[in-house]
């Protein structure tokens, strides 16, 4: 009996696949009703389900499939023409079968529900008077009972006469085998044969081979017409793989097929138990760790032979890891298949015309990820049809084709999988989002007015935007977008939205390729190692003694290149005792006493800095699950094993922010950061300076006297008056061109003179082409704007924004005193250090002279 259960499990799994295929093919057939080969494929599919359910004695399943098959038979024979009503009927049948399968899987029985209505609908479709659609009227009325009998009649003799007859049509031995198998299963449809044929049925249901499509295609129409042996076609490769099984078929003495001949068909793929693959993946991970240990050992032992072996093992390990990872990869088309059906059904119910375009179906990603994005993607598709695409009339009015398009595009991009869901619908009205944001108190009106369209659009992922009442008002998305985002982020991905009113919306999901192995940064906090996923890591900055830490709404913040970055002390949030310099006194002072490293992280839309003690290394780690009680803490997503065999926890960076109380506080501050970003993007950094809320211990100065402090190499720091700083840009060196007497770059279509303070080779070797454009490295350029004139100043890095400086110690310098650069106007003291003030006027003059 146990064995029987196994067959049923196989049967269920296979039926499930068949149904997916059925759905897709039905939707495809609806688009092209005259595609006969597709129709035949559908017929075979339904017949397979019917045959198998008959064998297992699943009466409801069999009855449903029987009605479907009868209807399909008529279609195939040209007695009926495929139309939408028929498609709906058959899809309803597919759904009903799926429900029964679920019930079978869970409880082993077909369930209480009666599917008579579905069957009746199918029967009704047999009579063309019921099928109202267009050109079907000409099809003759046919008696359904006769039709059913006809099908039966075709089934029974196929065991002998048809077999002989059709051998002439068969082109290969493989197909011969398929016939034989088919006959086995054929017989099993008769109750009396069931017991006796159990053995042969075994092989039929052991369908572990995927190549079915190819072989299905080989069957010619004649065979199909004679029906019923198609049951076996799907299994013929499994036959070929296992001579033993084919011998069983031979033993039955029907249409003897030589085992050797069957074996000629080489299967190119086999089914493997997913659990086994997962184990293999685990072991590959182990191997990676062992390899890391070995490499470490070989470094200590100076034996060239060991080094040689270690290198070889290392290479092989990498290869194995790569291949094993690939075995778990599946094309994304696997989950897209169902979307055609979803779009069709939803479009029908909304009275819209929607076409689904799928691009990059072959893009592969880890199967665990596939499962994880199925729901979010489904949601996006539903949203697209429901809210994105307009009704046909509206579309015509807007000058668009009546049929809307939803496009899914998947591709690999720099080690990530990018999935775009685009619709050509109405788009999201940013103004309405803005209104909503204000009325929901997510933003104050001032901030909302200043926020860019893109910033506002991201608000659709906020939970506050997901109630039904807003969906209707914001002509667009809303329901559950926050859930979509949290799902995607759970698996290390991100989601963004772009939209243009009137022409559509694009949602972009970015995912890591695989979950099991990820690039990470090992850090130390206190005396413990932790791991941060690289995906969320933007950069690591070092905060020196001088950098002020300010307080905003009780959250410590750091000004990172003009943007406010909330800080979280890792040792404090995790309660690690031995971390240095984390006493409260320090922070109340608004400063850190010793140098600190800040990992700048972005999780959700939240950007924050995690203060750590040390950055250890960047490495690929193997993700290991952790116990539920550890996960429940909320600070860790998993763990990994380091090269020395020790365990390191992988931080759940969103959870850490939450533990630090950051998200709630941050909501209130969203406006502030938008302010800050806005300030940068709006070419006036001054807006964010001199925050009235900032609790700086030093006295503040008027905002227009704030300084941007930049390092220019050689330990020198220059200050640029903030009010002249328009933007901070990274410009590739190759884009900075040399011309007679100076440098310039094409900046937003205008010529921007460039003054190379940090990289003086620009200045001194301007005639030497080789020093210019030597690589794609980026130069840090401070774009200054004074009275409409612009100049770009190349610096080593932007160190700080100083809101305070001691003017009393200001010293004027005579012209030319500063090493001939003519750089500085005067010196000031900022937090104890001497800063050279940049004489901007002079820079403009020199730059324009150079340009002239």
């Amino acid at each position: 009996m146990g064995e029987h259960d196994e067959f049923i499990a196989d049967f269920l799994e296979e039926c499930d696949e068949n149904l997916d295929q059925l759905d897709q093919e039905l939707v495809a057939l609806e688009e092209n009703p005259h595609d006969e080969s597709r129709l035949r494929s559908i017929f075979r599919n339904v017949h397979t389900i019917k045959g198998s359910s008959g064998f297992f004695g699943f009466a409801k399943l069999g009855a449903l499939a029987h009605e479907g098959e009868t209807l399909l038979g008529k279609l195939r024979d040209g007695e009926l023409i495929f139309n939408q009503a028929i498609a709906s009927g058959l899809l309803a049948m597919s759904d009903a079968i799926r429900e029964i399968l679920v019930s079978l899987e869970q409880s082993g029985i077909e369930g209480e529900k009666d599917y008579g209505d579905v069957a009746d609908a199918l029967i009704a479709l047999l009579s063309p008077t019921q099928t109202v659609d267009g050109d079907d009227g000409r099809v003759g009325v046919s008696d359904e009972a006769a039709s059913a009998g006809d099908t039966e009649a075709k089934e029974s003799p196929s065991g002998s006469a048809d077999g002989v007859d059709s051998t002439s049509h068969i082109e290969s031995d493989v197909e011969l085998a398929s016939q034989s198998v088919a006959r086995e299963s054929k017989l099993s449809e008769h109750p009396s044969d069931e017991v006796g044929d159990l053995d042969s049925q075994t092989q039929v249901n052991r369908s572990f081979i995927e190549d079915s499509d190819k072989s299905d295609a080989n069957l010619n129409a004649e065979q199909v017409r004679h029906g019923d042996r198609q049951v076996g076609t799907k299994r013929l490769d499994s036959e070929a793989e296992s001579p033993l099984e084919s011998n069983v078929a031979d033993g039955k003495g029907r249409n003897a097929v030589d085992g050797a001949e069957v074996a000629k068909a080489e299967p190119t793929s086999i089914r493997v138990d997913v659990g086994l693959l997962d184990e293999l993946m685990d072991f590959a991970g182990e191997l990676v760790l062992a390899r890391n240990s070995l490499t470490r050992c070989s470094e200590f032992v100076s034996d060239s032979r060991l080094t040689l072996v270690a290198n070889r093992v290392s290479q092989i390990t990498s290869d194995i890891q790569d291949r094993v990872t690939r075995t778990r990869m599946q094309p994304i088309g696997v989950i897209w298949g169902r979307f055609r059906r979803i779009v069709r059904d939803l479009a029908l119910s909304c009275g819209k015309q929607v076409r689904l375009e799928l691009i990059g179906e072959e893009t592969e990603l880890d199967r665990s990820l596939l499962e994880a994005i199925r729901d979010p993607l489904t949601h996006l598709i539903r949203n697209g049809v429901d809210h994105g695409i307009e009704g046909p009339n509206d579309r015509m009015t807007a000058g668009k084709p009546a049929e809307g398009v939803i496009r899914l595009n998947a591709r690999h991009e720099s080690g990530q999988v990018v999935i775009e869901a685009t619709d050509d619908g109405a788009g999201i009205d940013v103004d309405k989002v803005r209104e909503k944001a204000i009325s929901r108190r997510l933003l104050d009106s001032d901030t909302a007015a200043k926020a860019s369209a893109e910033q506002l659009l991201q608000l659709i992922f906020e939970p506050g935007f997901s109630t039904a009442s807003q969906v209707s008002e914001i002509s667009g998305r809303g329901v559950g977008m926050d859930v979509v985002r949290s799902h995607v982020e759970q698996i290390g991905g991100s989601v963004h939205v772009k939209s243009v009113v009137g022409s559509g919306t694009t949602l972009t999901i970015k995912l890591p390729l695989t979950l099991a192995i990820l690039p990470a940064l090992a850090v130390r906090s206190g005396n413990q190692q932790f791991v941060l996923p690289q995906a969320s890591l933007l950069e690591v900055v070092t905060i020196g003694e001088s950098s002020p830490i300010e307080w905003l709404h009780d959250v410590p913040v750091y000004r990172l290149r003009g943007k406010l970055l909330p800080l979280v002390w890792m040792d404090q949030v995790l309660g690690i005792s031995s971390g240095a310099a984390s006493s409260d006194g320090d922070r109340q002072n608004g400063r850190k006493q010793s140098k600190k490293h800040v990992a700048v992280l972005k999780v959700d839309q939240l950007k924050y800095g995690l203060v750590i003690d040390e950055v250890l290394s960047s490495q690929e780690i193997v993700v290991k699950p952790i116990g539920a009680s550890i996960k429940a803490i909320g600070a860790y997503s998993a763990a990994t094993i380091m090269g020395d065999g020790s365990v390191a926890l992988i931080l759940d960076l969103g959870g850490v922010a939450k533990l630090a109380g950051l998200t709630a506080a941050f909501q209130g501050q969203l406006q502030d950061s938008i302010d800050a970003e806005r300030a940068v993007s709006d070419h006036s950094l001054s807006g964010m300076l001199g925050e009235p809320k900032a609790r700086s211990s030093s006295r503040s100065v008027p905002e227009d006297q704030s300084l941007l402090i930049c390092e220019i190499g050689g330990g020198r720091e220059v200050g640029i008056q903030m009010r002249y700083v328009e933007r901070l840009e990274e410009i590739a060196r190759s884009k900075i061109q040399v011309f007679d007497g100076g440098l310039a770059t094409n900046y937003r279509g205008q010529i921007l003179p460039v003054r190379p303070f940090f990289e003086p080779q620009y200045r001194f070797d301007v005639t030497n082409d080789e020093t210019l454009g030597f690589d794609e490295q980026k130069s840090q350029v401070v774009v200054c704007n004074k009275d409409g004139g612009r100049v770009g100043i190349v610096v080593q890095s932007v160190a700080d924004v100083a809101t305070t400086y001691e003017e009393s110690t200001e010293v004027s310098l005579r012209e030319g005193e500063m090493a001939g650069h003519g750089l500085t106007e005067r010196l000031v003291i900022v937090q104890g250090r001497i800063i050279e003030m940049l004489d901007l006027d002079k820079q403009f003059v020199e730059a324009t002279q150079g340009a002239g």
Binding site: E286, Q528, L574, I626, G627, S629, A635, A639, V647
Partner: protein, 175 residues
């Protein structure tokens, strides 16, 4: 030590935690390992000693002294034993001081947990077995999953453990 485990009698793997002997059914014990590096987990419940790497699998380590509110024995060294057991679908390590023999107490040797034991701890003990030379606390290992974690609000402050509950040892061994 008796070797022959008789039919019908449950066998218990015993171990010492602090000054008390405890036991869990032999059938629940996967393996026993010693001297593994324990990685502490900040913010975890006090009963969680940390994580260990058991041949590539990461297991939560339960500090049995804390779980049972038992005093540590001053003679104990840092060398601990990990008794690997399955709780729910998860493998966990019970961190104990010393391994003892396998015992199979008769029905008549089983006692209920004395009522004056702290209820939380009492809920983790199935019964007390009176063995010839000692008492053995037979544990309800499945209670481990009931452990609480530190609530999410606010960073956890160090060294705020309340005074230890009355020692279980004095409670049970005073019989």
């Amino acid at each position: 030590m008796k070797n022959g485990i008789q039919e019908g009698e449950a066998a218990y793997c015993t171990f010492r935690v602090g000054d008390s002997m405890c036991g869990v059914p032999v059938s629940r014990v996967r393996e026993i390992v010693s001297d593994l590096v324990i990685t502490p987990v900040p913010r975890a419940s006090d009963s969680v000693a940390g994580l260990i790497n058991l041949r590539g699998q990461i297991l939560t380590v339960i500090e049995m002294r804390d779980w049972l509110s038992l005093n540590s024995n001053p003679d104990d060294t840092d060398s601990r034993f990990h008794l690997i057991t399955e709780v729910g679908s998860e493998l966990v390590s019970l961190c104990v001081d010393e391994m003892g023999p396998v015992v199979s107490p008769k029905e008549s040797e089983m006692e209920l947990v004395p009522t004056h034991v702290d209820p939380q701890v009492a809920g983790r003990i199935d019964a007390v077995a009176r063995m010839p030379d000692q008492l053995v606390l037979l544990l309800k290992v499945e209670q481990i999953k009931e452990m609480r974690t530190i609530p999410l609000n606010g960073p956890r402050l160090q060294a705020e453990k309340g005074p230890k509950k009355e020692s279980l040892q004095s409670a049970t061994f005073g019989v």
